[in-house]
């Protein structure tokens, strides 16, 4: 991983952007619910201008329209939640707000929960299964040794994890249709961060010097010897 010279972000000159895995599954889940039961899927993101591309990707999966909260700088979790709350209030009434359990990059584990509190809605996180029926959501949350089950009234906030479904690959016609779906964008002002990112760093000592046990199948006896030393064979 290479950082920008000011250590504020990853150097992305040579990289592409993509949607976080949990969130891609969240969009897929919303599309499946609406395909089965009717309704509308609106996808919302907060991010730089470039993030519009990911909204189009979500539209290709099946989202009907998009809301882009444009911010050139990364906001902290509280400011992110507050910007989302402002935007979502304009969309009431809705049945379900689906978030990724945590973002791949910042990993703050809290935006969905903060939004739920601000809107006074029930929230269940870490879902690996979701079914919506009769104005209620049955939610299965992944825990060690199985899944905890919750049953909450709608409207509700849920956060999902990868594995809740296997997202579809959009077809070429779906990608073309996505280009003409409505996308509203709104610039978000910068609030003073309460968890203020100062700089990023690559962990030291991450690189190990592996002991080479051999090449090809001839290494097998040495591998078994190591397994014995470790007490696993």
């Amino acid at each position: 991983m290479v950082l920008t010279p000011d250590a504020q972000a990853l150097e992305t000159k040579h990289l592409g952007f993509t949607i976080s895995p949990h969130e891609e599954c969240g969009v897929e889940e919303a599309v499946r619910i609406v395909e089965a039961q009717g309704g509308e899927v609106v996808v919302l993101t907060l991010g730089p201008e470039e993030a519009a591309e990911q909204i189009r990707d979500c539209m290709a999966i099946g989202a009907d329209r998009g809301i882009h909260l444009v911010s050139s700088e990364e906001l902290d979790a509280q400011a992110t939640a507050s910007a989302i709350v402002d935007a979502v209030r304009e969309e009431e009434p809705f049945d379900l707000l689906i978030f990724g359990n945590e973002s791949a990059d910042a990993g703050n584990y809290q935006v969905g929960i903060r939004v739920a509190y601000a809107l006074g809605l029930p929230v269940v996180t870490g879902l690996k299964a979701l079914s919506v029926d009769g104005g209620r959501a049955r939610c299965e949350q992944e825990v060690p040794g199985g899944r905890d089950v919750y049953d909450v009234p709608l409207p509700a906030v849920v956060t999902v994890k990868e594995g809740i479904n296997l997202p579809r690959y959009p077809s070429v016609p779906a990608k073309l249709r996505a280009k003409s779906k409505p996308l509203a964008s709104k610039v978000v002002g910068r609030a003073a961060p309460r968890l203020e990112k100062l700089r990023l760093a690559v962990p030291e000592g991450a690189r190990k010097q592996a002991q080479i046990l051999g090449e090809g199948p001839a290494a097998a006896p040495r591998v078994v010897e190591v397994m014995r030393e470790l007490g696993v064979a």
Partner: protein, 278 residues
């Protein structure tokens, strides 16, 4: 005072959180919560018990969830997965631990979780008070379902994990990994490429968005070593990488390396183990 939320008195990640709390220098009080899991009610009980103390929890799913509820109830910032605290500044992990963030907390109180395996667990023996929350109509767990494991050891609990990546080549290719795993009483894991291709179910995925494992030995077969995957297996005590590509990133994270075709090497290890066991 610093209040520590413990999932259980002997819980490994909670004892690591105790160590983080002790590093803050104030008196430490440990609590766990009684009754069905209801994150908002548990958080309210912790907020009550804490007074104006800092609150620390484990960097587990449940620890991060409860602390996020605490933060939302108090409308204070919350730093998840912290590795070090220096006054108002702290270091926390990003990208599942492959990147660090240095940050300044603008808050009268610290709300933190301890990044898993960033701290040695604190010695036992500390008294853990049990809180009894007031549940009211709080969202709570109403049922539990357990997956059918067929008697096999789970990924999260396995002492050895035999894991395969793109190099395995197909769903059928995992047969040789299954065979080795059976001999070692190991669980079989895989990388994200494998689940996206539909070769294995997502429940087998080790990674930032899959299961995070901490076995004594992790055997990575044909796995290149993307950050997404490393985030899930860096808790392993030892990592053995088998890969045909000498330049594969996985070797930079490995303790032991075997270079070559896993389709030849894995069966050779299985045969050698069988021979040794007679």
């Amino acid at each position: 005072m610093t209040l520590v939320f413990m999932e259980a008195p002997d819980d490994e990640l909670s004892r690591q959180a105790l160590t983080l709390a002790e590093s803050l220098g104030a008196e430490v009080r440990a609590v766990s919560v009684d009754g069905p899991y209801a994150p908002s009610a548990w958080a309210a009980a912790i907020v009550d018990a804490a007074g104006d103390a800092d609150i620390v929890g484990p960097g587990s799913d449940r620890g991060n969830e409860v602390l996020a509820h605490v933060a939302a109830q108090l409308d204070l910032p919350f730093a998840a997965n912290v590795t070090e605290v220096r006054g108002d500044e702290l270091t926390r992990i990003r990208w599942g631990g492959t990147l660090l963030e240095e940050a300044r907390l603008h808050s009268p109180r610290k709300l933190l979780t301890a990044a898993p395996f960033a701290f040695a667990p604190s010695d036992g023996g500390r008294e853990v008070a049990t809180l009894s929350p007031s549940f009211g109509d709080a969202v709570r767990v109403v049922d539990h379902v357990s997956p059918e494991t067929g008697g096999k050891v789970s990924l999260a609990d396995a002492k050895v994990v035999v894991s395969g990546g793109r190099g395995v080549g197909s769903a059928e290719g995992f047969a040789i990994l299954e065979e080795l795993a059976q001999l070692l009483d190991a669980a079989v894991g895989c990388s994200r490429v494998v689940t996206s291709a539909g070769w294995r179910p997502h429940t087998d995925q080790v990674g930032q968005t899959g299961t995070k494992v901490s076995p004594d030995l992790y055997i990575a077969c044909g796995i290149s070593g993307a950050t997404q995957h490393i985030a899930g297996c860096k808790g392993a005590k030892k990592l053995l990488a088998i890969n045909a590509d000498r330049e594969a990133t996985i070797f930079a994270h490995a303790d032991y390396a075997v270079i070559g075709d896993l389709h030849e090497i894995v069966p050779a290890i299985t045969a050698e183990l069988r021979k040794a066991k007679g």
